[in-house]
Symmetry: none
Subunit: 66 residues, 2 copies
């Protein structure tokens, strides 16, 4: 399902989740999110995977009550 394999930096992912870039780094270290390493050690994340996380985690309450 990789129609778009664009790689995102920790800062970009942090913006999407409204968290600190450091937090994104911890997610990668903890294996909660896949990451690619540059030869220099910096992490890169697949946009497709990040999008799935955002979309999936958004579903918390579909049935609204009033």
């Amino acid at each position: 399902m990789e129609k778009n394999d664009r790689l995102l930096t920790p800062g970009e992912v942090a913006l999407m989740f409204r968290v600190d870039p450091k937090t994104v780094t911890r997610w990668a270290s903890a294996g909660r999110i896949g990451s690619i390493r540059t030869p220099g050690g910096h992490r890169r994340f697949r946009e497709s995977e990040v999008s799935v996380l955002l979309a999936d985690l958004t579903v918390e309450a579909n049935q609204q009550q009033r």
Copy 2:
């Protein structure tokens, strides 16, 4: 639909409504407000949705006067 996807933390939303952050959490659990979860389990809220809710409060205040 989502022109402004800025996300807010529970604490920020709590300040806007002048309630305890715990209350905001309960709103999310009850489905009264949509929420996004970080991979770590923390919630984030869409500013656009929060704004709508605040606007609703304003409407109620107006209706109270008629």
